[in-house]
Each structure stands twice: as structure tokens, then as C-alpha cells.
Symmetry: C2
Subunit: 231 residues, 2 copies
DNA sequence: CCAAGACTTTGAACACGTTCGAAATTGAAC
DNA sequence: GTTCAATTTCGAACGTGTTCAAAGTCTTGG
């Protein structure tokens, strides 16, 4: 049966994934070799490459899981959370808690994201879904703001950028429990909320509109319509 | 004579550096191997490693040169440049012009910067001089702003962060002459200048002070005094 | 001119990520 | 039950960045 075959494949892929992640966390990303992973999973080196095209691909699978978990947790708690600060804190802190212990893996992702011609970059078409899903969470958190959808989307993208900054800080944060990054998030959000509220007023509309067209031109905004597919 | 020895060493180092850079630009960073560099420079593989501890170390030498050139050009033209927008444009565009053609090398630098435990990161002590020198240029550009030195320094650091964003955009910018990044810089600065002027008023002072302490706590501001060396 | 020490050069060797062709296994069709 | 194509497994082999110990060269002091 084809289903069984597939399921077995999935199971093996999961085995490799779990083994790899355990080793990454135990010895670090660089110190864990593909041979380690294969041996520890009880398969051959070549077999591992049948399920993952590269070592970082395993980390990208991890990040996909992080993204899923982030979405799930935020969507669950967001309806019960009032206040802009509280809602934004929820999105940021949930993400932080999810990745806090895996700084080396974030570093590996960041390294490939910075490579020109990489398919998973924020600026690339392939990475766009990834980006948009993440931005959508910030957008949802901004719901209490009475403003236009476009303005909200723009602010959400700004927050996503800030969240990138959080990740960069995290990668280098050796403090116990990553309290430095935690404190950074909390204080930065306290500062950001009044600014966001200001931006949501008619006074901020002009600035946001400018910002939006800037981001659009650089492929960071979702395309408004799919009707522009001419060469 | 010891001097001669040193000079010869410098000359050889320069030869390796020049050869490597030419190859990087011709074939790309990844496609250029250390063996290529050694062969092309007419030396052995081991000898290359006598002058540069690693392949990226060559790229860091390149970036040091970029930094020097950036400083020199900006310092030369800044006194003759009036207006905040013009001064900031000078700093940003000079940098962009210097690195525009070397996106792959920037990617290699970025990749190691994102690695935890890296000595040259913006958050590490060893990289601090690098950061401070760069921030100082933005600080100088902000001179027309009538405000406190601390506020100016804070804004300079923000601009440096924006400049990091420019570099990230650049790495993925395939457009002819990197006009996308150029346009981004020009438009972003147009938006930024009024905001900076606003921040320089008493109204913005509170926000800037908060921001400053935030940045200080994360090791991004220069230490005010060296008198806190109690471990 | 020689000896000692420092600096420089060398290429073999190592460990790694990745590729590849061939062998083994599987499931479906008859 | 046999056959066949597809999938999966395997580990040798490749190219890479980097290390290292041994050999070579040069500088200095006598």
C-alpha cells in the first residue's frame, strides 16, 4: 500500500529529525556531524541525505515547527488578551520562549539567510509565505488599533523587523535564561506602543503610507492582487 | 634586518589579499578555494594560512579597508556638506558605493556575525571598536542637530542599525546597479530626517533617553567611563 | 664564517558536508 | 508467485577548510 510506504518514510524522517535535534542541543550544531546523526539514528550517511537534502535543511524543518507552534499558541491566547501592549508581548514572548534554548540553530538559519541567492530569504519569493505567516501574527495582535488594514499591515511588518532584531540579540545573549533579551523585549515594547498608537492617528497616516510603498517596492509586502503577472 | 623581514611579510600578505579579492570578485566567495588563492598567488596552501588564519579572515581584512575608505571619504566631504538630509545621504551612499559590487563578501561577513560566540559581532567586546568607528560617522553627520551629545549618539546608533538594514537589502539586491537599494536609501532618509528633527526637540528627549539606556544595557553604546572594571 | 634561534614554507593528512552509482527492498500488476 | 519499476539504503569517493610537524631560510651574535 502506498499509504504505508509514505507513512514509513515519514516515520524515518521524523526519527532522523528527532535524533538530529537532540544531538544539536546536546553538542551544538557545528559539533554534530551528519555521520553522528546517521549513526545515532541507526542508518547510513547516504540514507540521511535521502530525507534531508542538507544539514541546514533539518534546521529549517525545526524552524517550520517553531512557526507552527508560535501560530497555534498565539491564536489560542490572543482572543483572551486585551490591550495592545499585552497582545504584542504575547506574540514576542511566545516566540522568544520557543527558540530561547536553540540559539545555535537560529545562527545557522541566519547564516544561510544572509547568503545572496538564497531561496529562503525574506526578499525572495520562496520565503514570502514564511514571512507573511509571521507578519500575520503581528497584524492580529494590532487588531485593537482603529486604523486602515494597510496601515496595520505596515506596522505589522515593522514589528516583524523588530522581532528579527530580537532574534539577533538572542543569538548573542549568554545571560542566564536569556534575561537580557527578555528585558529588551519588554522595554522596547513599552516604548513602541505609544508610537504605534500615534502612527494609527491621521497624523501618522502619511508616514505610514510612504513606508508602505517603500516596503512594497522591496518585496516585503504581500502583493495586493495577482493580476500583475506580465513579464 | 628585522624591518625588511616585516616589510616582506607585509608584501606577501598584500599579495595574498589582492589575489584572493580578485578571485572572489571573479568567481565568487564560495567558488574560490584556498587552494585557488594559493596557486594563483604562487605559494603553497599552508603559507596562505600563515598570513590569514582563515578564509573569512581575508574578507574581514577587506571590510577593514572598506571602513577606512568610508571614514576617509566621509570626513573629507562632510565639512563641505550642509543640511541633515545631504549629510546623511553622504554617509549612506558612500558606504553603499564602496560595497555595492561585493555582495557575496558581505554575505560571508554577515554569516559569521550571526554565529553565537563570534568575537566580531556587534554585541561583543572585540568588535566594539569597529562598531564605534562606524557609529562615529553617523554621529558626525548629525552635527547640525541642536541637541545633547547623548541624544545624538543614540540617534547615530539607530542610523547605524538602519545602515545594517541597507546592507541586508543589498545582499539580496540583484537589480542593475543595485538601484533598488539606492532607492530604498534615498526614500528612507527622506522619511527619517523629519523624525530625527522631531526626536531632537524636548518632546523627543524622553524617548531618546529610554532608548539610550536600552542600548547601553545591550552593550551597544560606548562605555561612559572605564571606571567600572569590577568583575 | 658559523651556530642558534626565529620566522617561513611546505604538502600531507584530517574531518567534514555532500554526491553518486549501485545494490537491496518494496508494492503493484498480472 | 513472478516481474518490474520505484523507492530506499548504502558507503566509497570527492572537494573543501583547516591543522600540523618537518624542512627550509633568514637574522643576529660571536
Amino acid at each position: 500500500m502506498r499509504g504505508t510506504l509514505r507513512a514509513d518514510g515519514e516515520r524515518k524522517r521524523a526519527l532522523i529529525y528527532d535524533t538530529a535535534l537532540a544531538l544539536f542541543r546536546e553538542k551544538g550544531f557545528d559539533a554534530t556531524t551528519m555521520r553522528d546523526i546517521a549513526k545515532s539514528a541507526g542508518i547510513s550517511l547516504g540514507s540521511a541525505y535521502h530525507y534531508f537534502p542538507s544539514k541546514v535543511a533539518i534546521v529549517f524543518a525545526y524552524y517550520e515547527e517553531v512557526q507552527d507552534a508560535h501560530e497555534e499558541r498565539v491564536r489560542k491566547k490572543l482572543p483572551r488578551t486585551d490591550g495592545l501592549l499585552e497582545r504584542l508581548t504575547l506574540v514576542f514572548e511566545t516566540k522568544l520562549e520557543l527558540v530561547r534554548r536553540d540559539r545555535q540553530l537560529l545562527g545557522a538559519i541566519g547564516a544561510t539567510l544572509v547568503q545572496p541567492g538564497n531561496e529562503l530569504s525574506a526578499f525572495s519569493v520562496e520565503g514570502r509565505d514564511f514571512l507573511q505567516r509571521s507578519v500575520a501574527l503581528f497584524d492580529a495582535a494590532l487588531e485593537p488599533l482603529a486604523t486602515t488594514p494597510e496601515a496595520r499591515r505596515t506596522m505589522a511588518l515593522l514589528l516583524w523587523t523588530a522581532h528579527l532584531g530580537m532574534m539577533l540579540r538572542l543569538v548573542h545573549d549568554d545571560s542566564r535564561g536569556q534575561k537580557r533579551t527578555k528585558s529588551l523585549v519588554s522595554r522596547a515594547l513599552t516604548m513602541a506602543v505609544p508610537l504605534l498608537q500615534l502612527a494609527a492617528t491621521p497624523m501618522g497616516a502619511g508616514l505610514l503610507a510612504q513606508l508602505r510603498s517603500l516596503l512594497e517596492e522591496n518585496g516585503l509586502m504581500p502583493l495586493p492582487e495577482e493580476t500583475l503577472s506580465e513579464g
